[in-house]
Symmetry: C2
């Protein structure tokens, strides 16, 4: 495995792969790798000749009061994990290498898709995501790129960007990976103390309940969201940011009755740690 | 030569060229082709295996009071001219093919580079340009793309976009092509009546004067702009939008004395027709 921190070096490696007609897969990450990430790397390794994992805590997707500085960084451990999972190249640049100028060029999806859910409290987040992903896509020109369903709104926003701008990259979306007790794997789980960690189980419990209701015939999205809210707010340490449901694809409003596939998504704080989770209901 | 109006067809043609290891050159145009455009197509044809000319009057780069609807359209004549100049494929889609959704994904360069010169009166223009060029670059994945120095600010903005977002496409900038009497070739010249056409010669005259002053040692940018203003305002039919000078690359402020390469750019209305022209001074 090659660890590459320079843009020029990366471009040479990509050029060599293209010349050899290798297919390229990209797994963009912010490091602090867990089994969610390694499942993406595994899938990428299976489906492409060359697997590139980017490790970059992207400053432009964090708001001024968010956790950019304390976001967990563990490059050495990450490299080992990525290599074990099938990474051929790790691209881990400094922030200045990807953002050399003060005046930025932004890539921005507009519309309700970036205003609902996390967009309400993180107004610049998705602009940062789409901008960094564009840079990585241009540097690496991947045939396929891998993202986790855990970040469901990010997935929808990136699908919209790829469609609108005709990116020649296929997005591959992989299922949420959970701890044995159901907590969705997240780099931010390390922020939780023991009590918060236990309390956070209410997220999975609430979404499993939503799935049960749907399976037993409930088709009212408000009723499902209310049931999810009841489960989560029964946990004293929970502080709900949102519990919402939208139709898929595109996060459009559902109306009074669920007819097609929907996303039920939650964001909840436990102490100072904000966690997100979701479930997709229907076909 | 192939005339292609469908995105899918274009993607197939591009894929076939890539499979055959052909280099691809792109000349993006809004049609109404003149010798400025054909000089770009000639250069593209010489430097690439496959020359693609896009003909698309891009709605998002026109302001609400600008000439989108009356912009000259002449597809049949354009195709003939483009083929004669060396085009292999003409891509001429409907607006809905490139902008299928109401909610857009924008690519936007920020900073003074888009606020000076034409940016003062055309605040959404360059966002439209960078967005459509991104779409074309992704659809066509050109090795090289050709633009005219006539649109000097567009050139600087696109260079900034390509650098910031790491586009794997080389920008090739070709010199201004002029009529025998010096008027810069422009698709908008057809709007001019005979008197305005004659009056518009003051632009080239003023820029030649600027070049003369520089050659004879003038290094004060204000003095050069003032001299250009005197020549243009001596023409009764002229209505000056701007006469400004900025350092190259990047359109930065110059200061009191010209030290490196600078752009002297003008925008002037003759009747309802707004023309732009420019000269680059220094090394």
């Amino acid at each position: 495995m090659v660890l590459c921190t320079e843009v020029k070096k990366l471009q040479e490696l990509v050029k060599a792969a293209k010349s050899a007609n290798q297919t390229i897969g990209l797994v963009p990450t912010m490091g602090a790798l867990h089994e969610g990430h390694t499942s993406l790397i595994n899938a990428c390794h299976k489906e492409n000749d060359l697997t590139i994992v980017s490790i970059f805590v992207n400053p432009t997707q964090f708001g001024p009061k968010e956790d950019y500085k304390q976001y967990p960084r563990s490059l050495k451990k990450d490299c080992q994990q990525a290599e074990n999972a099938g990474a051929d190249i790790i691209f881990a640049p400094e922030a200045a290498a990807l953002y050399p100028d003060k005046d930025m060029t932004w890539v921005e999806v507009t519309g309700d898709i970036v205003k609902v859910l996390c967009g309400r409290t993180r107004p610049i987040h998705f602009r940062g995501v789409t901008t960094i992903i564009t840079k990585l896509f241009h540097l690496i020109t991947p045939d396929k790129a891998y993202f986790g369903q855990k970040d469901a709104q990010q997935v929808e926003v990136l699908k919209k960007m790829v469609k609108d701008l005709f990116f020649p990259t296929e997005l591959r979306i992989m299922p949420i990976v959970r701890e044995k007790d159901g907590l969705a794997k997240s780099s931010r789980n390390v922020y939780l103390n023991a009590k918060e960690r236990q309390a956070a189980l209410c997220l999975y419990k609430s979404l499993t309940h939503a799935q049960d209701l749907y399976t037993h015939g409930e088709r009212n999205p408000q009723a499902i969201c209310e049931a999810v809210r009841n489960v989560i707010s029964a946990e004293p340490l929970s502080n709900i940011d949102y519990i919402e449901a939208y139709s898929l694809p595109g996060l459009k409003p559902i109306g009074a009755k669920i007819k097609n596939k929907i996303l039920v998504a939650v964001a909840v704080k436990f102490g100072t740690t904000r966690l997100i989770d979701n479930v997709v209901l229907g076909e």
